[in-house]
């Protein structure tokens, strides 16, 4: 059964009609054109679909669209301000923190969730924050460097 859900997506209020049990991941991609959010395992294990829900990193494959009414959702698209990448995104580019790039938006959103809570995280906190994200190209050292690069800045 379809329902209508209204929430804030990347700072703008949106209303979407979708099957009530559809995942936030599929709704973002198929109904709202947000394709930075990647389907990987769709079982909460790979982190490729990570978004911020009320400022906290969550795997959007495990969120039912029926649970999103009134919430704030931010995706990698929403980190771009006036056409300018977020410093965290810039750092991923500068450090070459991806190869195929499929996991990258998920890593960026997990890192963003951490930096919003702890602007100056230590290495352990970084590792913990991205523990739920998998990069099969193995770009982990550069991903960690990118996050470290913007640690301590304002977010």
């Amino acid at each position: 059964m379809d329902i209508s859900v209204t929430f804030t997506l990347n700072g703008k209020q949106v209303t979407v009609k979708a099957p009530a049990a559809k995942s936030l991941l599929r709704t973002l991609r198929e109904d709202l054109g947000i394709i930075s959010v990647k389907p990987g395992c769709e079982a909460g294990e790979c982190g490729a679909c990570t978004v911020l829900m009320d400022g906290k990193a969550v795997t959007s494959c495990l969120v039912m669209i029926s649970q999103v009414e009134g919430h704030q959702i931010v995706t990698a698209e929403g980190l771009v301000r006036d056409g300018k990448l977020d410093p965290l995104q810039e750092a991923f580019v500068d450090e070459g923190a991806s190869q195929c790039g499929y996991c990258t938006p998920g890593f960026v959103m997990s890192a963003k969730g951490l930096l919003l809570e702890k602007p100056n995280p230590n290495e352990n906190e970084i590792l913990e924050a991205i523990g739920g994200n998998i990069c099969r190209c193995g770009a982990y050292p550069r991903i960690i460097s990118a996050i470290k690069k913007v640690s301590g800045e304002q977010h």
Binding site: M1, D2, I3, A18, P19, A20, A21, K22, S23, R26, E42, A43, G44, E45, G47, T50, M53, K56, A57, V58, T59, C61, L62, V63, M64, S66, Q67, E69, S110, G113, L114, E128, A129, G131, G132, N133
Partner: protein, 300 residues
């Protein structure tokens, strides 16, 4: 993946939710954080056509303390428990366990009551709840009752919750300052791994290292989480030394009844249980195990 045939009820209050359950309890599946059910929905493994989404019941999101207990609202997430001063001070063993569940993204969604209601023998918040003598509060439209967590589970995926009831609160006993505790689990990797074996232990030692009380609970080694009662008895009142560490760990590995499944064999689980208990008690013996703090400055 067929999302379209589900009806999702999203009540705005507990009363409304209980009313819905009263009408059609056996046809409705309760959804809390959603981290387990979304995986099942993807694979078309949910037989119920109607879902009861509790995520808007803010009245069930709280952590309150009174004299001897901490009361946790059913919809409190793992991450909220981890960040709570009250929890870190009074039930740090539960905090440690929540930190090992899934990864940050899961901890931001999953709830304590969801872990209980889901009733997996490998649910990582459950062994700590056993050693904290937790009580589970169940409410229906007509009544409410409280069941000790040790009596709540009937088997894998089976609990004493009636179809018209909702888990609304979990109450845990406050740990005494100075008590040694550890939560250890073995999974196939550190993040997002389901436990092969998990152990929660709380122990009080006298000045000369005699065990005055000890509680040991294990996950993923029996149809439900279990207390290792025989091993606790064997240990109580005795001098903790290397021999006793070995004896207790051996006893635990014999007391459990693990099975062989895709994650590991029964024999492997017995050895792993031995190893986890040995490691934890060795740290207690050496004085390097964690102890319940008497003030917040000792927590962080």
């Amino acid at each position: 993946m067929n999302y379209s045939h589900y009806i999702v009820h999203s009540p705005q209050s507990l009363n409304e939710a209980l009313g819905i359950l009263k009408e059609k309890s056996s046809e409705v599946r309760i959804v809390s954080g959603g981290t387990d059910i979304m995986v099942l929905i993807k694979d078309d493994l949910v037989k119920e056509k109607e879902l009861l989404n509790l995520s808007y019941l803010n009245e069930l999101k709280y952590i309150r303390e009174d004299e001897g207990t901490v009361k946790i609202g059913a919809l409190t997430t793992y991450r909220e428990l981890e960040k709570s001063d009250t929890m870190n001070l009074n039930a740090p063993i539960l905090v440690d366990a929540c930190k090992t569940i899934g990864a940050t993204q899961i901890q931001n969604l999953g709830t304590l009551a969801g872990n209980l209601g889901n009733a997996s023998p490998a649910g990582d918040s459950i062994p700590p709840l056993y050693v904290l003598n937790a009580n589970v509060k169940l409410q229906s439209a007509e009544s409410e009752r409280v069941i000790p967590v040790s009596e709540f589970f009937l088997g894998p995926r089976k609990t004493k919750r009636d179809p018209n009831e909702i888990i609304t609160e979990i109450a845990v006993e406050k740990e005494k300052p100075g008590t040694y505790y550890f939560f250890k689990k073995l999974g196939l990797r550190e993040a997002n791994a389901i436990s092969l074996v998990s152990v929660a232990c709380m122990a009080d030692l006298s000045e000369d290292k005699k065990i005055t009380t000890i509680k040991l609970a294990l996950g993923a080694v029996a149809p439900t989480v279990i207390r290792a009662v025989k091993s606790e008895k064997l240990a109580t009142g005795r001098q903790l030394d290397l021999n006793l560490v070995d004896e207790i760990a051996r006893s635990v590995s014999e007391e459990i009844s693990p099975i062989t499944d895709i994650r590991g064999s029964a024999e492997y689980r017995r050895r792993a249980a031995y190893g986890l208990v040995y490691e934890g008690l060795y740290e207690v013996l050496m004085g390097t195990a964690k102890r319940v703090s008497s003030g917040l400055e000792g927590v962080y």
